[in-house]
Symmetry: C2
Subunit: 118 residues, 2 copies
């Protein structure tokens, strides 16, 4: 079946959450896409989100160089969430950590799991 | 630092997206939690979401037996998304597939990556 980005179930802002997972299995980040960001990501192979704060397309790594090359795009059963398997250059997180999920909760305490990349 | 679920950045419905990843690395599903669902998950070790459609707590697997045992809970840099590392019993998806992300988009076509579990 041909894939049509418009067939996804977008929220009332026209967005779906998109989870980026490195090809090594690490979950890197979660951001948002509209239909056109999905289409651009598929066309260019460069992961492109929609920035809710800037209300603009956000080609991941365009300024930092920390690009995400799309390896595989997956749609969930409800068609309201995407999983992007990517090849991440450098840090995915704006704090320069590899993943945005660097804080764990253990025994009620927040624990930092990884340091910024050098 | 002690973790307080109220310190998360909830959306205007009082929810954060929660990504469930099996301890083997497979991304299983994405669902939603409110502050109390986060607290219940940490207290019980059983992953508990908030069902937007039913407007009720959803102890994953309570009826199906396909429970998610919490291994680690992680918070992202913006504190508006959670990553749950879990031990999944059986299928995470209501279609009886291991993961909800069983459809890939390849060369413009939708491709089914996994069959229902038997």
């Amino acid at each position: 079946m041909p894939f049509d980005p418009a067939s996804l179930k977008f929220d009332d802002r026209g967005l779906v959450p998109a989870i980026a997972q490195d090809e090594d299995g690490t979950v890197l980040m979660m951001a948002w896409m509209n239909a056109d960001a999905v289409a651009r990501t598929l066309e260019t192979g460069r992961v492109t989100y929609w920035s809710r704060s800037r209300q603009a397309y956000w080609i991941k790594g365009e300024t930092s160089g920390h690009v995400q090359e799309l390896i595989d795009l997956r749609v969930d059963c409800d068609r309201d969430c995407l999983l992007l398997v990517v090849r991440q250059t450098g840090a995915a997180c704006h704090t320069n950590r590899r993943s945005c999920f660097y804080t764990a909760v253990r025994d009620g305490e927040e624990v930092e799991l990884m340091a910024p990349m050098t």
